[in-house]
């Protein structure tokens, strides 16, 4: 089955108010070309579930977000995500904050079609106070231990970025860490995977072992070929983080003038191709 799509076709499926899970981790292997396409669209009021990086920062800065479900939002080499901070400090978004392991449990519960999974994480911390809807569950066995019932984080749509994929939706992670991208796909109703390069299925094992085939085609509805699609986050071994660009991005959060300049230079362009060219020109 040929599942190739464009970024525009993916974003045309999004509706206001949807819950969007975004793969990657911090400023690492984020599906940024899909995020940038959302910035070009009228979609709004999104709920984001993410091990957050500039995906969260950009969508917040463009007013696309109603709620963020996260364990952290960071640019890694720049620990605090300045655009996310601006949105939080302005009270512009609702924050749903969990321990990062609880986030995994929520995705895993959704992926496994379970209402919740029990965990010790959260007990005694302000995760409980900040999420008054969180319930406890008592072990029905002799130990009787009381645990947090981490609810399933069911997603409307998952967006992930891989190094290679075939047109049927088999995805390959050639970098050192696959993060939780497979869980994001399993937890979502519609799943879209961008990749650096689409290759014929028979060539998938040319660059990586069978263990690198972390995403199978049952978990993917659309494949988008997006060379440089994770820019400016890292996508090893294809490319590292564009630290210089990331610094420029972070600095643009400093005041409205810098942000407007950054936006018009890189983001308020007609297409991903224009973005990639603007990045090259600088």
């Amino acid at each position: 089955m040929d599942k190739r799509m464009s970024e525009r076709e993916v974003v045309a499926e999004l509706r206001d108010g949807m819950t969007l899970g975004i793969g990657g981790w911090g400023s690492r292997r984020k599906p940024m070309s899909l995020v940038r396409e959302i910035l070009r669209s009228p979609v709004k009021d999104l709920t984001l579930v993410s091990y957050g990086g500039p995906d969260v920062g950009l969508l917040c800065a463009f007013g696309k977000v109603r709620k963020v479900v996260y364990g952290f939002v960071s640019l890694d080499s720049i620990p605090l995500e300045p655009h996310f901070r601006n949105a939080r400090q302005a009270g512009a978004i609702e924050a749903v904050e969990f321990d990062e392991g609880m986030l995994q449990w929520g995705l895993y519960a959704a992926a496994s079609r379970l209402p919740f999974l029990p965990t010790r994480a959260g007990l005694g911390s302000d995760v409980m106070k900040l999420n008054p809807g969180l319930k406890l569950v008592r072990s029905p066995y002799e130990d009787g231990e009381e645990l947090v019932a981490m609810p399933a984080l069911t997603l409307d749509v998952a967006l992930i970025h891989m190094n290679r994929a075939d047109e049927g939706g088999n995805g390959q992670c050639l970098g050192p860490d696959p993060f939780f991208d497979d869980l994001f796909c399993m937890a979502a109703r519609r799943r879209f995977m961008s990749c650096e390069q689409i290759v014929p299925t028979r060539e998938l094992l040319r660059e990586g072992s069978v263990h690198s085939l972390k995403i199978n085609r049952m978990g993917v509805d659309g494949v988008i070929e997006a060379p440089g699609g994770a820019h400016f986050t890292e996508c090893p071994p294809d490319y590292g983080r564009d630290e210089e660009f990331q610094r420029e991005y972070a600095a643009s959060a400093g005041d409205p003038d810098s942000w407007n300049a950054f936006k018009s230079r890189y983001l308020e362009l007609a297409s991903e191709k224009d973005y990639q060219e603007a990045v090259k020109r600088r």
Binding site: F72, V73, F84, Q89, A95, T119, L123, D126, P176, P178
Partner: protein, 254 residues
């Protein structure tokens, strides 16, 4: 004994927090914690499991901050999902930072002010809640002051001893805040009510300095000692092998 810097004293104090850990995954967050953990591995805790900061477990020790070193010897794979598995299993000792920490070791790295609309948004909960209830946790605070050592943290990310006690013996059975190392001294919670206690002060630090810089009452024992000075071997390892560019000193002002 050779001259040494405050940062080097801190690195040794951090290394000491991992003494006795044996074959355990150690996750040091920050530069001096990374230096301290590597120092422990090269000296008295050779069995520690340490990553390259990404996803490879390295059998040998590389310098911090990307300085030129030996070829890495990869002994295993530790992506985040496996880190979480180790965490749930208790096979880990983490040293995290703390923007705020209180008398019972409650940590805040989420935000300052009202969490609904914070004055300053920080990282978020990260792994604080799960780490502290599942395995030993230590903290590194490079800027000991009344802003960081506070009577009450604004948000509890890592769980301290008072809250762990309130959970009861079952839920808190894996809870342990091993040590807090700051730029001024070393602290633990080995007191009857688990209030923070001074273990040692770094060379040149007076008790008054620490008391002035702490926003709550510390337990100060009579037999207060000086933080163990780095040995000549440790200084050589830090300066030539672990941190040849001296980036550790950037984390501590003194």
């Amino acid at each position: 004994m050779s001259e040494f810097t405050r940062a080097e004293a801190c690195a040794v104090a951090i290394a000491e927090t991992f003494r006795g850990d044996g074959e355990l995954l150690v996750s040091p967050i920050g530069t001096l914690p990374s230096i301290g953990a590597r120092l422990a591995k090269l000296t008295f805790e050779p069995d520690l499991l340490l990553t390259d900061g990404v996803a490879y477990l390295l059998a040998n020790v590389l310098p911090v901050g990307g300085a030129k070193g030996p070829e890495p010897i990869v002994e295993g794979w530790m992506p985040y999902r496996t880190v979480f598995d180790m965490l749930w299993a208790g096979r880990r000792h983490v040293m995290m930072g703390a923007t705020q920490i209180d008398r019972f070791g409650n940590q805040n790295i989420a935000c300052i002010g009202d969490p609904k609309q914070p004055k300053a948004q920080l990282l978020g909960m990260r792994g604080g809640p799960g780490n502290t209830l599942n395995h030993p946790t230590s903290y590194w605070v490079p800027n000991h002051s009344r802003r960081s050592f506070v009577p009450q943290v604004d948000v509890v990310t890592g769980v301290g001893y008072d809250r762990a006690a309130a959970l009861g013996p079952i839920a808190s059975r894996f809870h342990e805040i091993r040590r807090v190392v700051s730029n001024l001294g070393v602290f633990d919670f080995d007191t009857p009510d688990h209030a923070m206690r001074v273990v040692s002060l770094h060379r040149g630090v007076r008790v008054e300095d620490v008391v002035d810089a702490t926003g709550f009452e510390l337990v100060i024992p009579d037999d207060l000692s000086e933080t163990r000075a780095p040995t000549d071997e440790e200084l050589k390892l830090m300066r030539e092998v672990i941190d040849p560019d001296g980036i550790g000193s950037k984390e501590v002002r003194v």
